[in-house]
Symmetry: C2
Subunit: 223 residues, 2 copies
């Protein structure tokens, strides 16, 4: 009501389902029945259908003609593929955003990383994950190329959906992560070239990926 922007029912349906998938209310495999969701939203099936198809395009739901939609299953392969995609795009996006990383930006990034460190002390993994996402958004968020930005955001959304299904809660390398963030910020503070930033960022992501592979008992090259 407070919103001036006229939100269509289709948009509302999209946001509702999207939210429920990313926060885990709908687990992978959950059957998304158009009529049910429509009833819940107090609208007809048409807008819901559109929302589901959009989510399908994003890879969050699996859709079969004349059968229906289910929340996309997450398996190891899918996770690795998403990570691999992000490993390519996110560093590039971050490098492109380098221009807008001024002193004020750096201060915010430092502050956020300190908060993450605090979360470690407090054993608060949920807040840590949230802030980690926020930190990375800060990194690539000013990327001037909207297409690239969009791709990165989609990747993170998918990761969020996977995490919500408690798939990737492996013994997290949170401590190393924070250190690597600091090192990256040091690099930026020293006016590193975009190429250097990109390399460091990719390293960071590769470490995360490798630690997952190791935890899952796979070879580092098993992707």
């Amino acid at each position: 009501m407070g919103t001036v922007t006229t939100t269509s029912k289709s948009e509302a349906a999209y946001q509702l389902v999207s939210e429920r998938i990313t926060n885990g209310a709908y687990s992978p495999g959950y059957r998304l029945v158009l009529g049910t969701i429509a009833d819940e939203l107090g609208c007809s099936v048409v807008p819901v259908r559109e929302a589901i198809r959009r989510l399908e395009a994003e890879g969050l739901v699996h859709f079969t003609r004349n059968v229906g939609a289910t929340v996309a299953h997450v398996d190891s392969t899918l996770y690795l593929h998403t990570m691999q995609t992000l490993m390519i795009i996110e560093p590039a996006a971050t490098a492109l955003a380098a221009d807008s990383m001024d002193a004020a930006w750096l201060a915010r990034a430092r502050e956020l990383n300190e908060k993450m460190r605090q979360c470690l002390e407090d054993f608060d993994p949920v807040a840590f994950t949230r802030m980690n996402t926020e930190f990375h958004q800060l990194l690539y968020g000013q990327c001037p190329n909207p297409h690239i930005l969009d791709l990165v955001q989609r990747g993170w959304r998918r990761l969020a959906a996977m995490r919500a299904s408690s798939f990737t809660h492996i013994p997290y390398r949170a401590r190393e992560s924070v250190k690597e963030h600091d090192a990256l910020l040091d690099l930026i503070a020293d006016h590193a070239t975009p190429a250097q930033i990109e390399a460091a960022c990719r390293e960071h992501r590769a470490h995360t990926l490798n630690s997952y592979l190791k935890a899952a008992g796979m070879e580092p090259s098993a992707i």
Copy 2:
């Protein structure tokens, strides 16, 4: 009736409009009216609407609520952004596909590139462009990561739509392109590492981009 595969009307609408955009029948700015397209297809507006929204998600169509859809305008910025995105993803996809580049593959690639060279002799730019697309598909097509593959294909689709609107028909550096293709194939034949392939591929794309920038009278860094 003849078709065994049940193609939905929505899919038919998607393919029709998509085709017309990519081959230039619908120029940028062209107004896509649901009812009109629906009549033409002999179906109702609902499937058409879904098709349009899908095209919007791909960036081929611009959509305004309660107003309608138009074929997306292509300007220099959009072109550069798309090129920049492809410059990041396509080389990565190609590197990932390196494993499946065996002798038979190499032979096909060589043959295709020779055909392109022949197109140059014959002054047939349309065929050249088609084969260039095909050549690049051969390069990244066996990328085992479906997400990355999808991103690359979307990029090329958008480029095709732009070309159809006769936007990027700048004096083409076709001759250099063919040479670079050969050099790349030599590299692959010599069992280069994926990293080397990626670098070479990125170089190739950077050259294309720079030649466009130069032709448009922009600085190479103006992206």
